[in-house]
Symmetry: D2
Subunit: 409 residues, 4 copies
């Protein structure tokens, strides 16, 4: 058996890190010996642990350390990070390092550098001269890029349990069903208002159910009132939102009665044709073709939106980014500086956005399907709240609560 | 091949009866020849069809006729119904007739008699002297009862599509998802208010999620305002409702914050013990132990309630009918004269109640699980509406809409 | 009130067409009078109906006729179809006609021409000189194209109930739950074998759950044995399939034990990098990098595959069509001549493919989520069968049954 | 602020106990100071922690200690347990103690006594003379019983993570979706075979979907081969099982084709009537009326079964325990000595049984609905495995695997 010493620091116990470390070693048939353990005496104190990890052989130990690394393990005697040249465009050198969504630092010439734009399942390109490190998608790698290899000289800060008494501290990481929904909404409204008062930025990811279920006016109101800094969606949400403005229907269904309208199946194609004829969404708003709703408020209030294409799209609208890799990149850029993401009834876009987010961004996922909500919250940390409910009732209620909180202050 | 002539009358086409008839004959490898067909020229006219059904042999033809019977087929040359004595308690004579949930008539001594208390999957006991016929559960059959056998001399009125422009005409038989929920609620509120103004009776079936999700005050309000004529539920709804009144928690969860309260897991057992000590729910209300909520309003407003026992129950409360067959009978009796049933987040009780209802009673099923709603609506006719939503947001919104309609008038 | 006479022909009753016609008129507040009705006396006979439809005014009547048209209504005195020039690229003339997914004919110079490549929610471009008519996506329309307008001179053949006693006749249009799954699989195996024996073409749409749940070897076997003519999928299915071949894991999970493998989260990125380095999937198979599985069998057996991009993709693989509109077009072309589509655990791709299919193509949808299956079957006709089950058990069982049927013959 | 010292012992870290303790104190706004902490150096070592808990006042501290108690906290200076007389039948003294489902000890006259028949949400009756303590349902309490009050002198052993490398160690506490189902089944088969070889007892809880989906023969086989020690179910499973034996249908559906059989809706009532006429299930088997299936094998192999009544039941069969409280008690008694419970597609009965089980009993829950599986696994510990799949394919495959394992040995 061979061994190596690693160390951990932080809220190791109540943020569940040390238990995960020991679990993992047991899961992978390793052994451990704790050589030092200083527990924080009070809740504001951090803890420190040093332990020797034993593996069957070099390979096994290496596997153990790779996994421990993701939980924040640092090799006690820190060395510089290693890297190698990409042999070709979009081809990685052997032993390349894959990122987590946690804040990550690499040691270059004895100095710890934070990796920029961190996100999950990507690689790290380093610039030792410029003392910088970047997180990159595989398809952004160019021949000759210096790609990080191995875990040596790489440090991760795993997510800790929120300390301040917030909704996220209590509900974080959980999916809410069978809870007092009206009161849960009240708590979330208060989180949103506080975040905006403190200068935070909010992204909304929304699916077309927002149009169909009667939540559209509430979302339009939130955009108008400044609660949405960027909108991430697809062709369908925008088409049906403008279809409502032009024809009063969403996918041919009268939005007031829920009944299909005769000839209504033409409306969404007609809407797209009209917007194309106008030159785009912005022009359609300016020309008075679209007079209210989500896209209208985005244009009027200069709220940027990204409409990512999908193979299900009709049309699509001129603003839709039909190339999926370009759409992904645009979404990644739009998410820079965002502190909270609200995901509304949109599995495809929500999972895509979830994959792009660093672990520190708060997320609120609302969907009527418990499986979708579970999937979205699972990949998150304590920073994700899932609510299984009907977005058509949720969003109007949320907006009402936000407006009342504004009045009160 | 042997053949028999049958006839049908009613809205055979737009209520989908004739297509079902022909489908069925094809499904069962029979043949048909239409000998007479008079179609209603306008929508208020009924149609008439007479056709010869061919089967391979006596048995096959008999099977065909048994199934056609359920769609309203009458043998052209009507004969009297046949019956036989039950050989023992709860034992049926050979060839016994099983009921549908549709209005049913039997021909006794040349006269058509309506079967009383009709409901699905039961048998019919006739009293030729008294010129009456009763629908009975198997376990109500006594030795010597005259039990109807065969389909001869039995006539069914299959459900027709509602004519007047109501929510049921449009949404009946469908499960609503991706519809404008706020507007669907408005339409249902209006159905409820109209039905009560016309002297109709409403039963509510409710599960404990009504307590957990924040819908309790709305249901209590609807009882207080006279919109509920009878409440069908179980031990859990009543326990948690009164737990909220006594401790402010539902299954130990603070109803205002959604958080578990320390020691809260004792509350529901404590609540039951207190109610038993008081002598029952009524006494607990009178003694001021229970001061608000669903059970409080039932007692104060003399709204009868039936709490049916289940093997999951803690306690149970003294009013719970622990014998399932007695509970079923009590529920059947309570449903007499009811015109509408509202089913709220309660699969077990809703399916049980659904089985007890004649096809003419309107039902509205609300549940967050689409499978539950589909199951409930499937067994219904055009008279069932299913809504997949969160009862915690649905019911408060429904009650608000009802109150506004009241104000308007 | 104004009126117009329309006529219908076909299996109007048992295929449920006439009831839908009358329903629709009632739903839209129209009136009707049936002037002639000849019902087929036996099941192989067709029926004929002629009726006068009344609307409140010209607009109302027009709406009524637009909807009746989709059910196959022909104006009794047929006129030629009308068309207009597209004013610009991707811009439609007023009153453009939107397609259904049913076989469609247009009348040009007194002659009925079948529309080529019919599919839902598109428009029709006519070539009166060449006596041809084409179904086109909005974004394929060029300035000056002659686009069909109005319903005049357009004839639709709505789907009829399958006559021959097949699985589709019985289960078509339904979602199967609580049925004897092993026997349902047996029936489907027999449909597949028969279709192939008669020279039919089968497309498979598959999601990555095929890899995760243990169904991969069965799908690979079906491709090897010639049961799959084209594979429609995305990046993830192909990546994890080849990850299994190279690393024995699917998304880092050991496919034999279901447990995550240490360092496994690197495997899918590593797989993509290796395939890119090899020059693509075909080359990776030829170079012996990929030695078994779904993609291996596609390459070895010259079965074409289309991998459509999505914003969730990592990499992606070189063969992935990242532009969604190009991917959609490629999928449409690949579906030409296909008689059956098997959809396996893939909501996004299945819905996209479903939108592209004419109503006459048989579809079998398998998913563990009842909502997904319902969505897919709802948009279909009698030609769609939905099965709610676990693809990881379903596909191996299906393949076993297919192999046994082969042995028997 | 006031304080109290508590201590914990066991696998505090890798079984996640200490983190939960600190979480809880933070959740409830308490404070803590760790005064002693000895961590197990190797995985077989236990740990020991002593900490001072601070509350705002006596009440707050009491609440904190009540909750910590459930995690195994012992007051450092142990005192005897306290108790009080029940003031009346089914009425509890103030401050009564509510049980968890974990092994529990009470200190009587300085001696730790294990509570017999432990189960969740009940109370403890002590017999200080006889040195015994019993876990009782509320409705079993008689006036004068000595009921445990407070947490003083009560010790709980919270569940620890399974150590030996078993399926439960790895999958315990999780719901399996998107895993290689065939291999998961193999692992479970091996657990079952091992447990039986070591003399373990297995209970099966089964719903009527076992009959409908084609899993009946596999369950019958497992009973015949001695893998089932007791069967817990309801009226429907038994009725449809015997309906298959007598008529070849399950709820009127031909079990070979999945199609409804003409006149089939009479079959289940007919089956019940026949069984009643025979005198019961045992007699029906002996008289040759029922010749195969689940109930047949139970009777032939003397496997006890309990059929608990529900308000949905038709009939019911003579063996059905219609009183829910009696049924619950019978199920509790039948579960004595059982080491594993397999729950098959039965929400009502599975949740009822889950409530009756001590935390140390292994449970395997199989259902096609992820919400049901999640609910069942959530209330469990590491000892519960949930599998979202189709029982109609799962059970035959499981039985095949069991038979192969038998052959191998």
């Amino acid at each position: 058996m061979i061994a190596r010493e690693v160390e951990f620091e932080g809220h190791l116990i109540d943020s569940n890190i040390l238990p995960k470390v020991l679990d993992l070693i047991l899961d992978l048939d390793g052994e451990f010996e704790i050589t030092e353990f200083r527990i924080g005496k009070r809740k504001e104190d951090t803890s420190y642990a040093r332990l020797i990890v034993f593996g069957r052989d070099e390979n096994h130990l290496d596997e153990l350390l790779k996994e421990l690394h993701k939980l924040g393990a640092r090799v006690a005697d820190a060395e510089d990070a290693e890297f190698a040249e990409a042999p070709d465009d979009r081809v990685l050198p052997d032993g390349f390092y894959v990122t987590t969504n946690n804040p990550t630092f690499v040691r270059l010439n004895g100095e710890w550098i934070e990796v920029e734009d961190i996100g999950m399942d990507r690689v790290i390109v380093v610039d030792p001269e410029g003392k910088r490190a970047y997180c990159r998608f595989l398809n952004e790698i160019k021949k000759g890029d210096l790609v990080l290899i191995g875990e040596k000289g790489v440090k991760i800060i795993p997510p800790e349990r929120p300390r301040k008494s917030t909704t996220f501290e209590f509900m974080g990481g959980h999916v809410s069903t069978e809870r007092p929904t009206p009161n849960v909404i009240k708590a979330i409204a208060s989180e949103i208002v506080n975040l905006k008062r403190n200068g935070g930025k909010i992204a909304v990811v929304a699916g077309p159910a927002v149009d169909h279920t009667g939540a559209r006016d509430a979302l339009a109101g939130m955009i108008r009132d400044g609660y949405v800094d960027v909108l991430l969606s697809g062709n369908a949400l925008a088409v049906h939102d403008m279809e409502i403005s032009i024809f009063g229907t969403s996918l041919g269904m009268d939005i007031r009665t829920g009944r299909p309208v005769p000839g209504g199946n033409r409306h969404h194609i007609h809407t797209i044709s009209k917007i194309i004829a106008a030159g785009g969404i912005k022009q359609a708003v300016e020309k008075g073709i679209v007079r209210d709703g989500i896209m209208y408020e985005c244009v009027r209030n200069n709220v940027p939106f990204i409409l990512a294409g999908s193979i299900r799209d009709d049309g699509p609208l001129p603003e839709v980014v039909t190339d999926t890799m370009e759409a992904k990149k645009a979404m990644k850029n739009a998410l820079k500086g965002v502190n909270m993401v609200i995901m509304l009834a949109s599995m495809l876009h929500s999972i895509a956005v979830g994959n792009l987010l660093p672990s520190v961004v708060k997320t609120i996922c609302v969907d009527s399907n418990p499986s979708t909500v579970t999937k979205l919250v699972d990949r998150g940390s304590h920073q994700a709240i899932g609510i299984v409910t009907d977005v058509g009732l949720f969003l109007p209620e949320l907006y009402e609560n936000i407006k009342e909180l504004e009045k009160e202050s």
